[in-house]
């Protein structure tokens, strides 16, 4: 079997892997990035809902690469596509909507701030917001984040201008501002990982305001994916090799307890071995835990870094609140009616007045962020929401045609999506399935899901507030689609950082407590889910860990 040698091997090329590859390559290291999925180019991105959103463009078919999900104790396991983020070079950053918020200081010290909270395995981060702040700044500059937070008194960022001007918003944002302030809230402009002015030297165009942004790739690289940013920059150093369609089967270990490299199956189906001084795992919280658990050796019989039994445990997702408010055109006079029909895609308003809760929700002193957006334009997705009758039955026939007319021709749907803290618990974890395998013959990840009631209570507070605002805005009906649902793509916790090996898997520097040169830099390293999408925090932490590796190697 062919064996190659690099200074570092990075498994995964998304938010957790690409920044590390770039920092290490820029410092002079020879880096190999192994990505399971394909490398898409601008010509691959098509705005076809079936091709892009309803097939295996981003996530695999369950027949090929399943996850197994158990929703609650005693529930029947189901083989599913849920739990995948994205399999392609750039990972989930290629199709994300790019809502880029920072964690707040409370996210780093939630355990300390919630002494009355029980039934959770929550820990504090081993450092605070101040340590990550300069890396958030770097992400904004290097990736490209546009925004204006001058109206948000709760954001820790402060008032410095963003590197790019804010994305223009739909005129309804002014209604949201007025109605929100009337209720005592502080609506603000949502920061986006989208560049609003071109960067021709980097081969990136400015945003062209397509109707279809989230769930689709961006053919002019205005969306700040790692595919458009850190990956080409890493390759431009001449020291970074990115290989697509490579499935890493295991991490090899030395008898002295250091990681030796990885064994993988390449795009041709051949097994290959890579040896490296540093191994970075960044496959997403669920898949990184799976890789560590699969990489059992004579010395690590329960999986790498798993002597305390914590690899895969403390899985956090994001507690989802989701509402749809239907604004019927006939309820509005001109010119408001014409305003509603304006096709500008981005509403761009969020509220963080409920980021911290007083009084707490069942002991949890925080909820998170809710934001407004137009219902996604994908017509099949929009129609699937119309199939439930008021009595729980299926809507079809003439009744379905009427609903189609009402939703598509006679109204516009304004949605609210909220991100709330998902507390870690004993019942929410990842293990290896003993029966279900992927097409490489490897055990699938078995994901046990359980949500703490305080998380649901906090989400409910945001849903209640959002519903009030939707009605204030003139929505005739407001449907609660999810209260305490699951945002699967926002994953954290399975290899969480901490100073204490009895409650954490990785050190504050990012390496496994038990294995000095093996690092986890994706969401699995984050001890909390936060009250925002965690993508920006994953990127910032990955930069921090990478700089630490460089500093220690130089020393």
């Amino acid at each position: 079997m062919k064996t190659e040698t690099f200074d570092a091997v990075v498994v995964g090329s998304g938010a957790g892997g690409a920044p590390v590859a770039y920092v290490l390559a820029a410092s002079g290291a020879r880096v190999l990035v192994l990505e399971k999925g394909p490398r898409y180019g601008p010509h691959d991105f098509v705005r076809d809902e079936i091709v892009t959103c309803r097939r295996d463009f981003w996530v695999p078919y369950p027949e090929d690469d399943p996850h197994v999900v158990v929703e609650g104790p005693g529930a029947k396991p189901s083989v599913t596509h849920r739990g995948w983020i994205s399999q392609c070079v750039g990972g989930g950053t290629v199709h994300m909507s790019g809502f880029f918020f920072r964690y707040h200081p409370i996210d780093f010290e939630l355990r300390s701030r919630a002494p009355d909270l029980t039934g959770t395995t929550l820990i504090d981060w081993p450092f605070g917001y101040a340590e990550l702040a300069p890396y958030y700044d770097r992400v904004e500059k290097e990736l490209g984040v546009s925004g204006d937070l001058s109206q948000n008194p709760f954001d820790p960022r402060g008032g410095d201008p963003f590197p790019y001007p804010p994305v223009p918003t739909h005129p309804i944002s002014q209604w949201i501002d007025a109605k929100g302030r009337a209720r005592g809230f502080h609506p603000f402009h949502v920061p986006r990982a989208i560049i609003t002015t071109p960067e021709e030297a980097l081969g990136r165009g400015a945003c062209e305001f397509h109707q279809l942004c989230g769930s689709y790739g961006c053919e002019n690289a205005a969306k700040s994916s790692t595919l458009a940013t850190y990956i080409p920059r890493a390759e431009a150093t001449g020291r970074c090799t990115v290989r697509e369609r490579c499935m890493v089967e295991r991490i090899d270990m030395r008898k002295d307890g250091r990681a030796r490299g990885v064994l993988y199956v390449d795009a041709s189906g051949d097994r290959r071995r890579v040896e490296a001084d540093v191994v970075i795992v960044a496959c997403g919280a669920i898949e990184s835990a799976r890789l560590l658990l699969m990489s059992r050796t004579a010395s690590f019989r329960d999986g790498l870094g798993n002597s305390a039994g914590l690899v895969g445990k403390n899985l956090c997702l994001s507690s989802l609140g989701h509402l749809a408010g239907v604004m019927h055109y006939e309820d509005f006079a001109e010119p408001e009616r014409k305003l509603l029909q304006n096709p500008a895609p981005f509403v761009g308003r969020a509220v963080q007045d409920l980021y911290e809760l007083d009084p707490p929700a069942q002991g949890l002193p925080k909820a998170g962020t809710f934001h407004f957006l137009w219902a996604h334009e994908n017509p099949i997705h929009r129609t699937e929401r119309l199939l439930d009758g008021r009595d729980g039955g299926l809507v079809y026939g003439g009744a379905l045609m009427e609903r189609l007319r009402e939703r598509f021709n006679a109204s516009r749907t304004l949605e609210v999506e909220s991100f709330s803290e998902w507390l870690p618990t004993d019942g929410c974890f990842v293990e290896l399935d003993e029966q279900v395998s992927d097409r490489w013959g490897l055990p699938a990840a078995k994901i046990h899901i359980a949500q703490h009631p305080a998380s649901i209570a906090a989400t409910t507070r945001m849903v209640d507030a959002s519903e009030t605002l939707l009605r204030d805005l003139g929505c005739r009906t407001v449907e609660r689609i999810d209260v305490g649902g699951v945002t699967w793509v926002l994953q954290s916790g399975t290899c969480r950082m901490g100073a204490d090996p009895s409650t954490s898997v990785t050190t504050p520097q990012g390496n496994l407590h038990e294995i000095q040169n093996l690092y986890v830099t994706d969401g699995g390293a984050l001890p909390t889910s936060g009250g925002v999408p965690n993508t920006m925090t994953i990127l910032a932490n990955a930069l921090r860990v990478a700089e630490g590796i460089v500093a220690r190697e130089r020393a």
Partner: protein, 198 residues
């Protein structure tokens, strides 16, 4: 008494032997920690398309009628037949990763015929519209505890049909954009073209 030369020879020998011993030990530490094989099954090829027609004549007949009942259209919107929905569902049922959808649609077609015969002693496609509506209403009632739940299958069937009805018409060799134009769908007609707002 040890002379200097003896010392150098003996000391050097021990030093060499010592280094050799250390190097052996170092190589041992760097060697591979025996891996415990993670595989629980053999490798298998990626999911393949179905290599035979997904529906027989009976299933095709029943499903075509069912889709016209589920998606009848209106004065301006085409029915499922007019929109070539069954063309789409047939191609979807052959696609890699959709074998389970195909199986459920086949079972649903059988269930509809059996229920129709049970209620009205005639097959589903020979019923008048009201009879077919009663059979479909019966299919919407969940049957838990049984191996086949018609309500789940009917919902799946409707979702598959809507995928065809509301997806890009190129997927079903249909008339260009009648449904999209009538509903004001803001999807790009050419999926590769830019679609900016003014």
């Amino acid at each position: 008494m040890t002379t200097r030369r003896t010392f150098l020879i003996v000391g050097g020998g021990v030093a060499v032997a010592g280094s050799a011993g250390y190097l052996w030990y170092q190589r041992e530490l760097e060697s591979l920690d025996p891996a415990l094989d993670p595989h629980i099954a053999d490798r298998r090829p990626p999911a393949q398309p179905l290599d035979f027609p997904p529906f027989d004549e009976v299933a095709e007949r029943v499903l075509t009628q069912m889709y016209d009942d589920l998606i009848p259209g209106d004065a301006e919107l085409p029915s499922a037949s007019e929109a070539q929905v069954m063309v789409y569902v047939t191609s979807m049922a052959r696609a890699p990763g959709f074998i389970e959808v195909r199986n459920r649609l086949v079972k649903l077609s059988r269930w509809l015929d059996l229920e129709s015969r049970r209620r009205f002693q005639t097959r589903y496609t020979d019923l008048p519209p009201e009879g077919r509506r009663q059979v479909l209403d019966a299919a919407t009632v969940a049957e838990s505890g049984r191996s086949f739940d018609p309500s789940a299958a009917l919902r799946l069937a409707l979702q598959a049909g809507l995928e065809g009805y509301l997806g890009h018409p190129k997927h079903r060799n249909a008339e260009p954009f009648t449904v999209w134009n009538e509903l004001g769908v803001r999807m790009p007609r050419d999926p590769k073209m830019e679609h900016s707002h003014s």
